[in-house]
């Protein structure tokens, strides 16, 4: 079965984290787009229509509203070629402690979280989400 390469958009203000996340995921054969900072993230999301978003929550300039816009944009993704409309899963990707992340996931109604630094967790969850959203 010919399968289109799946893509992940990583939104983070920290260039080091973007760089290493890209490297880690590309090693797994995943197409990775990165966007540094919150500004313009919405536009990027619209252009790329990725299969998964990894979103950092502690960025300069990322207000609650900016975050909400990103989320909204993800929810409104146009279905490709008449397929069922399906929101892009958004996974929080942060250095916050797990309790805080779990709470944020519940509060914001997101798909899940990955703790930065948990490399097996990153790999596993990204694969799970991409698998779950595969056509």
């Amino acid at each position: 079965m010919a399968r289109q390469q799946q893509s992940v958009l990583v939104i983070d203000d920290d260039a080091t984290h973007l760089y290493l996340t890209r490297t880690l995921l590309e090693d797994d054969g995943i197409q990775v787009h990165t966007h540094q900072g919150a500004f313009g993230a919405t536009q990027r999301l619209k252009e790329l229509e990725p299969d998964l978003v990894l979103l950092d929550v502690n960025m300069p300039g990322l207000s609650g509203e900016a975050l909400a816009r990103i989320l909204q944009r993800a929810q409104q993704r146009r279905p490709a070629r008449g397929a069922e409309p399906r929101p892009v899963p958004i996974v929080l990707y942060s250095s916050n402690d797990e309790d805080t992340l779990r709470q944020s996931v519940i509060d914001l109604g997101l798909s899940g979280y990955v703790c930065k630094g948990d490399l097996p967790g990153l790999r596993h969850r990204v694969r799970t989400f991409l698998g779950a959203s595969a056509p």
Binding site: D14, T16, H17, Y19, L20, T21, T23, L24, D27, V57, N58, M59, P60, G61, L62, S63, G64, L67, S94, S95, N96, D97, T100, C115, K116, G117, L119
Partner: protein
């Protein structure tokens, strides 16, 4: 005792309102001024009562209260009596023994004072509770940010180490080199943050100590100017150092002064994209003033007020305007105060900022 004798006492002591009638140490009754005089003034009253025992004109059932009874309860009981006797004095007893009299008016006064005090107390208590809550919330936020600031470089180090290892396994020497360089810089950032957090908690606990010595502040300022030039890197920012004609030697803690000024100079360079940063040292009495001026983005008046609050950048948990931990200036100010000096900031938003550090000499410890 006869009625006559008691009446004479009332005549002689205009302040006296009531007399308790005792038998042994027990109260038998209460004789009040208005009742006694009223009885004696009536027709035949004097004839009738003057020579009789005083018990005849006493109220044998006065209100008796225990000395330990709460004020509010006593006032309630005193005021719920029939109107005619409300203003009688109240007999205070302890285990049935007479202890004294108290007027209802005094009771009411005491109660109103107590109420006023408790209202004021309640206000104080409410304010204190609010303050504690604010402090608690701030500490929680502070802890969350410290946690995040510490974890972020640690996580970067873990990730970088892993991708460096992979590159090494594949024999990609260049990638290994690049990733190790990033790893070192993340580790250095972590070291800085750990240092800041430790400094802050040390100061919070009053454990930060001064190590005063005489040193050449002019030389230190020149050296920090050179460091700031390095920090400015490729940016078109000119870093100048203005020194007094004679070297300024002062007794203070050079390490603390260095840390404060390094923070100020670092900020000045960070927030100035083009223009000038000046470290200006001058004498002031027997002390010194070191001003760090920049032509950078400046500080909004709102932010100026919160500048020295730890993690002020993170007041709103989701919005951080700038990079950095937001601890540097809080530490710098505390350190300046520890040195006996002051650290103040002035700024015109969009035009630049001036941070002024005053450094008084630390006197030799004398016995």
């Amino acid at each position: 005792m006869t009625v006559r004798q008691v009446a004479d006492r009332f005549f002689q002591e205009p302040e006296l309102e009531a007399v308790a009638l005792l038998e042994g140490d027990r109260a038998r009754g209460l004789v009040t001024r208005p009742k006694l005089l009223l009885k004696l003034l009536r027709n035949f009253g004097y004839e009738l009562f003057a020579r009789r025992p005083v018990l005849r004109v006493a109220n044998p059932e006065p209100l008796r209260v225990e000395a330990t009874a709460p004020l509010a309860e006593v006032v309630e009981r005193a005021l719920s009596r029939p109107r005619a006797v409300v203003y009688d004095e109240v007999v205070v007893e302890e285990d049935g023994r007479f202890r004294g009299l108290i007027s209802v008016r005094d009771l009411a006064l005491q109660q109103s004072e107590a109420l006023a005090a408790s209202l004021a107390q309640r206000e104080v208590a409410t304010a204190r509770a609010a303050e504690l809550e604010r402090e608690g919330a701030m500490r929680t936020r502070f802890l969350a940010h410290v946690t995040h600031e510490l974890r972020s470089p640690v996580n970067a180090i873990i990730g970088l180490a892993e991708i460096a290892r992979r590159a090494s396994a594949k024999g990609q020497a260049e990638a290994v080199e690049e990733r190790l360089a990033l790893l070192v810089s993340s580790a250095a950032a972590l070291r800085g943050i750990v240092g800041n957090v430790l400094d802050l908690s040390k100061m919070d606990a009053g454990k930060m100590e001064l190590v005063p010595e005489r040193f050449d502040l002019s030389a230190l300022a020149a050296e920090l100017g050179a460091t700031a030039r390095v920090l400015a890197g490729q940016k078109p920012v000119e870093v100048d150092v203005e020194l007094p004609p004679e070297p300024l030697v002062i007794r203070s803690d050079p390490q603390k002064v260095r840390q404060i000024v390094l923070n100020l100079a670092g900020n000045a360079v960070k927030f100035t994209d083009r223009g000038r940063v000046v470290l200006a040292l001058s004498r002031s009495g027997d002390g010194a003033v070191l001003a760090v001026r920049d032509s950078g983005i400046g500080i909004r008046p709102d932010d100026l007020a919160r500048l020295f609050v730890p993690f002020r950048q993170c007041e709103d948990a989701r919005v951080r305007r700038h990079e950095g931990t937001g601890l540097g200036l809080a530490i710098a100010r505390s350190m300046a105060e520890l040195l006996g000096g002051q650290l103040t900031a002035e700024s015109v938003h969009g035009r630049g900022s001036v941070f002024t550090l005053t450094i008084p000499p630390i006197p030799e410890r004398s016995a």
